[in-house]
């Protein structure tokens, strides 16, 4: 699996170092958090060499007319150095002068802007500047930079930004976003139709596994909403999403939430043929065993009518008899009774 977040962080570092596209590809194999810490340390060490000059240039910018600043920034200084000066600007002054620069130049500047130290400046950006810059980054397909931008801009700018980006871009941005808090805010701003089409985009784009990792970091109520939307599609998305959860072994986060859905919703998932796939069933039983969570699984199975429980048990016995034996042992330890599916499994030879 290509880790989009680690790849994005390596991309940020490459831009910071002005390195070639193929350089530092080895970093894609490491955890995104490790690469992020490395990238921040490298950027900080490079900025520290000249911080005094950047601060002086930021102070000098107050002496110059706005029109002159735009010319100097774009023709003499360039986006990289300007991004370092921008991080040292007083936010009020930044707001006054940002209109002196062209949108393409500001989009270039964002590529190497330290969005952490420059957050006060970015928060001060008027929407008439920030939205066109976001649009330009989206037009260029520079989703890594756009994700960092969206991470820190004023929350009031997020709804128009969400209108700019398409579903493929939005799932990419959500996966590489650093701020879980902002991700949660974005999630609250999109309606169920958009959520469904974004999940669709994750399936189409082959990044559903990373979307599930991202989903697992959302609040339980938000995971519930994702599951409800997935259930609402019938078996269209359930197979893909459940397969990804099994592959990632993310049941510890998802099964308790699934078990708390409305019984009708649980039944839709429980009736999906994907649950009888040996790898999926085994991953669930592995989790239930390790987490001592047999009651969550019982809640899922109980959502089915007796006849469907019987069919499920027969299918499971056919697909993974050894795993069925493990489940029966576990159920016996916990004295689980009165479940048709378990009765069928117990009666198997």
């Amino acid at each position: 699996m290509v880790d989009l977040a680690a790849t994005a962080e390596a991309g940020h570092l490459r831009r910071e170092l002005d390195a070639a596209d193929d350089d530092l590809a080895f970093l894609h194999d490491f955890a995104a958090d490790d690469v992020r810490r490395l990238r921040i340390a490298v950027a900080e060490s490079l900025a520290a060499r000249h911080r005094k000059t950047f601060r002086s240039m930021a102070a000098a910018s107050k002496l110059l007319p706005k029109q002159v600043l735009g010319t100097i920034g774009e023709k003499a200084v360039g986006p990289m150095i300007c991004s370092k000066i921008a991080a040292e600007l007083d936010p009020g002054h930044a707001r006054k002068i940002v209109g002196s620069f062209s949108v393409p130049f500001l989009a270039d500047l964002c590529r190497t802007l330290d969005t952490v130290s420059a957050q006060p400046v970015l928060l001060a950006m008027p929407s008439k500047i920030a939205i066109p810059v976001g649009t330009e980054l989206d037009r260029r397909g520079d989703l890594e930079t756009l994700a960092r931008f969206i991470d820190v801009v004023d929350i009031a700018l997020i709804p128009p930004m969400l209108d700019i980006v398409d579903d493929d871009a939005l799932i990419h941005i959500a996966i590489v976003a650093q701020s879980r808090e902002r991700l949660s805010e974005i999630f609250e701003l999109i309606d169920d139709d958009r959520l469904r089409s974004v999940i669709d985009a994750a399936v189409r784009g082959g990044v559903l596994d990373q979307a599930v990792v991202m989903m697992a970091e959302l609040a339980p109520s938000q995971v519930t909403r994702v599951l409800e939307v997935v259930v609402g599609t019938g078996d269209v998305l359930i197979t893909d999403v459940v397969s990804a959860i099994a592959e990632l072994d993310a049941w510890d986060r998802v099964l308790p939430i699934l078990a708390d859905l409305e019984p009708d919703d649980i039944a839709v998932v429980a009736a999906s043929p994907v649950l009888t796939r040996p790898d999926v069933f085994e991953s669930i039983v592995d989790h239930v065993t390790a987490a001592d969570a047999v009651h969550d699984l019982v809640a899922v199975i109980s959502s089915l009518e007796p006849a469907k429980q019987e069919s499920l048990a027969v299918a499971l016995l056919d697909a993974a008899p050894d795993t069925c034996r493990r489940l029966v042992e576990l159920a016996d330890v916990h004295a689980v009774r009165d479940l048709v599916a378990l009765d069928v499994l117990r009666s198997a030879p």
Binding site: F26, D34, R37, K52, M57, I81
Partner: protein, 75 residues
């Protein structure tokens, strides 16, 4: 070939902070250090050029004050 300790010292962090690089190929670690060094030198040059070029655009009556402000930080 650059060690993890050398990389940590180069960017001013504790060795533990970049310990994950121990699993990287030594040639990759060396390439990382060279990229950091090259970026530092390029940034030095770019900044000097930027200051020199910027001064050409500063209106003459303001040039002295601007130079005084940023001159101290040059080099």
């Amino acid at each position: 070939m650059a060690s993890v300790g050398e990389i940590a010292a180069r960017i001013g962090v504790e060795e533990d902070d970049v310990a994950f690089l121990d699993a990287a190929d030594p040639a990759d670690r060396q390439a990382l250090v060279e990229a950091i060094d090259a970026a530092g030198l390029a940034r030095d040059r770019e900044l000097l050029d930027a200051v020199d070029n910027a001064l050409k655009f500063v209106p003459r009556p303001l040039r002295g004050r601007v130079l005084k402000l940023i001159g101290g930080g040059r080099g």
